[in-house]
Symmetry: D2
Subunit: 169 residues, 4 copies
């Protein structure tokens, strides 16, 4: 049976320290559940922190990279997928995950939230500006939850996997 892939998306160069701390803990806990972590693969911000957390906890990390080579890739990516599609890869990121965790808001993350809603992938929102979750829920036809702590996010992912599996795959 195929692995369960959980995505962690969020700002790159503009990520805050809080977002990176959360992302690293998300990576750790995702690996501890024996889920595979999927990120955008670059060596910055939320992607890098989540990858480090998961890899160091013994988990497997898939990085869906924007370029045609591994330049700028996080050293914690185990399986690099080279798309050469720039931001077009965001659609692949979202489709390939059973649950998408958006940790912090940037332009690329906003695109991934929209694509997750469109693809009806369950979403967990963390470290978001207060006006974002109600707006996202207003557009959603699939589950959207908000988590204040990483342990809560992990519980929500488990719930989404139980209820959402027929939708997501």
């Amino acid at each position: 049976m195929a692995s369960i892939l959980i995505g962690v998306m969020g700002p790159g160069e503009t990520a805050t320290t809080a977002q990176q701390v959360t992302a690293r803990a998300l990576g750790t806990h995702i690996a501890q559940q024996d889920w595979v972590l999927l990120t955008g693969g670059r060596n910055v911000g939320v992607m890098a922190a989540a990858s480090e957390g998961a890899h160091n906890a013994g988990g497997l990390v898939v990085g869906i990279l924007p370029g045609a080579n591994t330049q700028g890739m996080s050293p914690f990516v185990d399986i690099p997928i080279l798309t050469d599609q720039g931001q077009g890869r965001n659609a692949i990121n979202v489709l390939s995950c059973q649950v998408v965790v958006a940790c912090g808001l940037g332009p690329g993350t906003l695109a991934e939230i929209g694509l997750a809603l469109k693809a009806q992938r369950p979403l967990v929102l963390m470290e978001m500006p207060p006006t974002l979750p109600p707006m996202v829920r207003g557009l959603a036809t699939s589950p959207v939850t908000v988590a204040a702590e990483v342990s809560q996010a992990i519980t929500q992912i488990h719930q989404h996997l139980l209820h959402g599996i027929s939708v997501s795959h």
Copy 2:
């Protein structure tokens, strides 16, 4: 010299009448400026209305379609581009336009707004929920304007083209 392409993005099946009326008028006015209209090409909602407006005003309409054939395409599309990339085509929609007009908010439009911000394409927002424009501006490193009427949107597109041309192409 290559044509100027202006994108009109917005909800499909869930578009309101007001959004479609605005989109049709946008299409008409875009054609009257001798700009080429670019949409997602399907025969529903904002895409269909904008295409009808532009085509009937004698303009050229490019449709970037999600599928591998022209099934479900607006009959007002002149140049169908078949991507077979589903929502992945949103990245192409945004990159190919010098200015993106988002008319109404749906999941796909949210993705296109995020991708336009990431690609630094100037954005004109219409028919949006009130919390959306401040959030988008908070993420933007390229021009974002809000238009209440179509004539105002056209004026803003002209301004974006004057100032934004070096960014967008």
Copy 3:
């Protein structure tokens, strides 16, 4: 009704003079039939020559570009589609055409021939090494013809359009 798009694909930097002369004449004749020319859009080789021929004969030229901007684009492209997908755009090139003309053989052209066969787009082969056409025909479930002269290619495109329209669109 949507325009008829005819693709001309072939080598870029490595194109021979003969291939470019043929491509320029193909562009001219395609424009004279009121078909829209589609190419890979770059300012080299077969793409550039076909675009020049079609544009100068008053035709419309669509360029499906590999990058996220118009750098390196043929000045004869009227409608630039910016994919930022590198060679991934080859699939879009082929899907968007009702008939694909491959003029000369390079790695990218070989990919486009394979994709045209897979998508069952009718193919016209010109300026090919002698072992290529039998191999392509052996793999084909859609029409494949070989043209020695441009006028013959135009006749074959007309025939493909008559018989192949239900397949290709």
Copy 4:
């Protein structure tokens, strides 16, 4: 350090028994070298046989799927990447591998050979019609070898990895 990904590409529905036997053995031997197998992920032909061989030998199998869900996926895929890009995914297949093994010739495989040449990924050719290897070599600026047996293919992959690593990644 990231894993080494080796691609095995070849016909799907039209694969011969010989091609499938070779592909299964390729999968087995690739897993035994601790390389990750990458295929197009579908449950037919060369993809399915290679995936079965690698998975059953304890290896990890990445499947780059054409659709937006796992319908029709080989049960031996461990990491499904859902592209929703149809044949457009062929470019991702090739870019993500350090060496591409083409086992048998179909339209999709022809596209992948062209894309591998364009991306300068080293190629190993197996089960090919006799006119194909000279044609491919004539277009190549990167290593192309022909293997008559699986053990020979594995030796060639080792050599390509030694010499080609700076090119491919």
